[in-house]
């Protein structure tokens, strides 16, 4: 009971999202894994949001109806657990009145979808999980692109260059499974053959030699791998050690540039087809973003950071267009305006539109490794 | 026959700890088992009370074969025991230690607990009465609230006996009840054992204190290397050459 009174005390006072005077603060919530095994991922998503907010604030905030607002990001750790996400959201709503809450995992999003429509806040859902946007929740924005668009260009390239035999070694995450479910039929439809299929659990596997050995005994031409970049790179490296000469289809979660850091060179990844790394992107906002990110976080930017960065800008633009900072429904309605009004130099990705389901329709860029170089292959 | 063993045998690996022992307990009497260290006396008790399964042979109690019964079933039939090293709930008080002894005669279960039935109340009362009764019997009135860890060795032995008595046994097996107890107190304990027999509970004990055994026992069995080497009245045993050589030594009574 005493803890409760503490909370209610901290509720009152200065954290109100707006006041009548000329300056206001918009609190944006974030609930993601900041400790434990997924902390790295959580941090990278948060970094993008933080960076956007900082830029906006440094530029004097943004103005709506004559009033200047600054962003205040309130990050809470949920250890990747849905119930913690729900608790955090309740807290963010109660204490900070956040109109938007970012969450980078599907479990958290689903836990929030239970009450986000009644409590009227937007979910910035950084997850490719289709269920999240297919469920018809009117206040969920799906940030990353759906993966299914990658399947065809990946398949075509790999099959043409290396051959028809595919061994699939996706990660045992839901995303990996969904990817596989789309990729394999596509591969077979194009006349290919799936010679081996088994998933790797990166959170439990100490060594990939065993599974790679088994995959290679079927003499595949192409290996389908993916998951977090670094362990994925290890899988590729070990496949080479075991004598694999073919190509890799790399699921979009893994980034070629991060993988290269592990393998030491792009030679190991020769013949890979994957998503274009942000650092190689020629979208108008990308170079500046990459540079600023490196300076700020002493780390390479990834799409997690980039997409959340741009999403934060889009939300702000949508607020401006909707002329409100707290009416979630109005903000949602003006998301397309937000996309349209997005300044050119912030366009780290090309996002022409938002779907009816609330998913941002990010343009997909495919990259391949040829002769030890990353080459931009297809733009859809 | 009241309780008897037929060709009871226990092997530990290559060692035959109890070797084809035939023994019958005389009802209402004090039966003693003596023998050198490692003769297999404690093991013999463990076989009867169901703690070890015998390698071969049988244990019969009132005509029933109890050889393979688990210890709790055997206890229910009315066979109680104490351990060589006193085995009590050290952190609980004396009453709580003894109270639970009557549990095997009660029937209340989880449902009774949840609904606080009459039966539970009645049985709790009975357990308490029983506990007070046996504590009084062993001479520990007014000790019920003492924590067991804080009472003396001899008192612990009495608590152990009280606990065994609370199960309402017909026969009680005592493994070296007088070990670590001084002569004065040993006498008190001997009196207690006699009192137990007077209350129609058969006693079977292991003891190294010959004076006590010879005074108390009606019948003695001597084990050596797991084998029964002699059986008889104290007089017979004291004069048995084999026993003297194997166990008693020159001065028959230490």
């Amino acid at each position: 009971a005493c803890a409760g009174s503490q909370i209610s005390q901290s509720t009152g006072g200065q954290k109100e999202s707006s006041s009548k005077s000329g300056e206001g603060t918009v609190n944006i919530g974030f609930s993601g894994p900041l400790s434990g095994p997924a902390a790295l991922y959580g941090e990278r998503t948060l970094n993008g949001i933080k960076m956007a907010a900082e830029e906006i604030n440094n530029n004097g905030g943004f103005e709506i109806n004559g009033k200047t607002y600054k962003l205040n990001i309130v990050p809470l750790d949920d250890k990747y657990l849905p119930n913690e996400t729900a608790s955090n959201a309740k807290r963010l709503l109660q204490e900070y009145k956040t109109p938007i809450i970012f969450t980078p995992h599907s479990g958290g999003v689903m836990a929030l979808q239970v009450f986000n429509e009644t409590e009227k806040f937007l979910i910035g859902a950084y997850t490719s999980e289709p269920d999240v946007t297919d469920a018809g929740n009117s206040l969920t924005i799906g940030i990353p692109p759906r993966y299914d668009g990658y399947v065809e260009p990946f398949t075509d390239y790999a099959m043409k260059r290396f051959g028809k035999k595919l061994a699939a070694l996706p990660p045992s995450t839901q995303y990996g499974k969904d990817w596989t479910k789309t990729l394999l039929p596509q591969w077979e439809k194009k006349g290919g053959k799936v010679v081996y299929h088994s998933s790797i659990d990166f959170s439990k596997e100490t060594d990939f030699f065993t599974i790679v050995t088994n995959a290679l005994k079927e003499k595949p031409d192409v290996l389908f791998i993916g998951g977090a970049s670094e362990p994925t790179a290890k899988v590729a490296k070990q496949a080479r050690e075991l004598g694999f000469k073919g190509g890799f289809i790399i699921m979009d979660q893994a980034k070629l540039d991060f993988m290269e850091k592990i393998t030491g060179s792009y030679d190991v990844l020769e013949g890979s087809v994957g998503v274009l790394p942000l650092v190689k992107s020629n979208d108008p906002g990308a170079p500046a973003f990459v540079e600023n990110y490196r300076a700020k976080f002493k780390d390479e930017p990834s799409s997690e950071s980039g997409l959340n960065y741009i999403a934060t800008y889009i939300f702000v633009e949508a607020m401006k267009a909707a002329k409100t900072v707290d009416d979630a429904e109005a903000i949602r309605k003006h998301m397309q305006d937000g996309l349209d009004n997005l300044p050119k130099d912030k366009r780290v990705y090309e996002i022409p539109s938002i779907g009816d389901d609330g998913r941002l329709e990010v343009k997909r860029k495919v990259a391949v490794v040829e002769d030890g170089q990353i080459v931009l292959k297809v733009v859809d | 026959m009241f309780l008897e063993t037929r060709q009871l045998t226990k092997q530990f690996g290559g060692l035959v700890a109890v070797d084809h022992v035939n023994f019958s307990v005389e009802k209402g009497k004090i039966n003693a088992i003596i023998g050198p260290n490692g003769a297999g006396k404690s093991t013999f008790f463990n076989l009867i009370s169901g703690f070890y399964p015998p390698s071969s042979g049988q244990v019969m109690f009132k005509g029933q074969d109890i050889t393979r019964l688990p210890p709790n079933k055997i206890a229910k039939l009315g066979i109680a025991r104490t351990f060589q090293t006193t085995h009590l709930f050290e952190q609980a008080n004396v009453l709580d230690n003894v109270l639970i002894g009557f549990r095997l005669r009660t029937k209340s279960n989880l449902i009774d607990a949840l609904f606080l039935t009459k039966r539970l109340k009645r049985e709790e009362e009975q357990s308490k009465e029983k506990a007070f009764e046996v504590l009084k019997f062993v001479g520990l009135t007014n000790m019920e609230n003492k924590i067991v860890a804080n009472i003396s060795q001899e008192e612990k032995k009495r608590v152990a006996i009280a606990l065994a008595l609370a199960t309402e046994p017909e026969i009680i097996f005592l493994d070296e009840p007088a070990a670590g107890i001084n002569p004065e107190e040993t006498e008190g304990l001997a009196n207690l054992i006699e009192k137990i027999v007077q209350h129609n509970i058969t006693v079977c004990l292991i003891e190294h204190k010959m004076k006590m055994v010879m005074n108390l026992a009606h019948k003695i069995m001597v084990l050596n290397h797991g084998k029964k080497i002699a059986e008889g009245t104290p007089e017979e045993i004291q004069n048995n050459e084999t026993v003297i050589k194997a166990y008693l030594g020159g001065s028959a009574i230490a």
């Binding site: 095994p37 790295l40 088994s198 659990d201 050995t213 977090a228 670094e230 | -």
Partner: protein, 288 residues
Amino acid sequence: MEIFAQQIFNGLTVGSVYSLVALGLTLVYGILHIPNFAHGALYMMGGYITLTMMTKFGLYYWIAIMISMVIVGLMGVLMERFIFYPLRDAPPIQDKIAAIGILLFLEAFAQFVWGADYQTMPTPYGQVVSVMGLTFTMQRLLIIISTVVVMILLFLFLKKTFIGSAIIAMSQNREGAHLVGINTNKMAMLTFMISGALAAIAASLSSPINLVFPGMGHLVILKAFVIIIIGGMGSIPGAIIGGYILGFAESLGATYISNDYKDIFAFILLVLILTFKPTGLFAKGGHS
């Protein structure tokens, strides 16, 4: 057949790492009678310290490993002194929770100091060797050989030296150890030292084939527990053999049964073993 041989080799590699981790765990269990849930964190620290020594201070691989063994060993000692020693009279569950506290701390600490990202440990033994159609990498051979050497040394130490026997004696009866003049505090610290050093060497050997990251301890610790249970807790040969059993079970299970379900098989194997032998395969007899 070739596949079989290759998988035996793979199982041997993984099993070696498991055994080393399990050995440290089982030693500490023997002394303190508590499963040290923070052991995985020591493993992780071992990986990071070796890595830092190599990358930040430019030390040679083996020197870095030595330093890491010492540092992690000392961390083990500190853990014993400040956490397990004060808790020596408390029931064992308390130790488990205290250990979990340390685990949380060390993981957060690693994340704080080294960041949450994956890092690679370079190795001077990157070569790939192919013999009769089997692929070895030097690093993997190294893992297997070093593990055997470490085990033999440990065995000789425990069986053939007085200090080693004193550790075993103490694990069986602390007061008895006092009575013969063994300084039990020193022995407990020594045991933790060894346990930490074993974790460090296991991590340092296996890191070049995997990655270094704050959660890396989780990969091995649960399995290490399974191993010491299969082997009979506190049993040293049990930990070694259990480690290899699990290594082979995994590699062969993944090959001939199913890769996706091999974990389930490994754990069901354990449950079956315990069902029929409730105290593990190598539990020692005797009572006191």
